[in-house]
């Protein structure tokens, strides 16, 4: 785990900004691109928290696979967006963004004043691979083996269901 306030505050501010932009973007493709940034920043937070596996899986599934699915959906429905509502940059949005940014800058400055060495990354991630892998294996195949099997069954049913629907549709 990297217990560094500067990295935490920057990644927290970025993920909240990206999530707000993603939710309030007017164009759907912009919303998707901002959400990709949210997922990658979440992977960074997982890495900071010391869970490299979750970070990799988050980046692979949510950062790459899920946006591809959503992007294909946007492509086949292109031009049919009649929602008509979205985010317009107005006075209140600018005020909110300024206050939000100042709050996070203030948090970083206070952290640096109280803990000046946090600006330098002193704590490098220390991973004891044997412990981490054995704990994951124990969790997946012993403690949560039913959940693991259920998850595999769910994925299989999903794939089979899509194949059946596809054949019926054809």
């Amino acid at each position: 785990m990297i217990n560094n306030p500067v990295i935490f505050y920057i990644s927290a501010a970025l993920i909240i900004f990206f999530a707000l932009f993603s939710v309030f973007s007017k164009k759907i493709i912009n919303s998707l691109l901002w959400s990709v940034l949210v997922f990658f920043t979440a992977a960074v937070i997982f890495y900071v928290l010391g869970s490299e596996y979750n970070a990799i899986i988050q980046a692979a599934i949510y950062g790459i696979a899920v946006p591809v699915l959503l992007g294909i959906s946007i492509m086949f429905s292109a031009g049919k967006d009649d929602s008509g509502k979205g985010f317009a940059i107005n006075f209140f949005a600018i005020i909110f963004a300024v206050v939000f940014t100042l709050f996070f800058i203030d948090a970083v400055v206070i952290s640096l004043m109280k803990q000046p060495e946090s600006f330098i990354l002193q704590e490098l991630p220390k991973v004891n691979f044997y412990d981490v892998i054995s704990s994951f294996v124990k969790g997946l195949f012993i403690n949560y083996v039913w959940a693991f099997e259920l998850m595999g069954l769910l994925l299989t049913v999903t794939i089979a269901g899509i194949a059946v629907f596809k054949r019926k549709g054809a």
Partner: protein, 101 residues
Amino acid sequence: MEITMYHYLFVGLVLFLIGVLGSILAQNVIKVLIAIEIMLTGININFVTFGTYCGAESFDGYIIALFYTGIGAVELAIALYIFYLMFQKKKSENIERYREL
């Protein structure tokens, strides 16, 4: 100022609330799905935080976050397939036209 568990939980909570807000306000079906994925990301951050701070040896939170990631991807695939089927009839992404769901 030392970073504690509550800082990460707060970030997860804010992400979850942004996702809730987005899923309520959005008029576009795909935007609703994106907002739901943001909610799931907030929940995952909470799980990983608990795994780091509360389960030093067993990593339970990490494993539950892994399951949640898989279930989230499956849920999205099913939701998009339902959307695809409905879109062929409705020819619109507006959520108001999907009331019969």
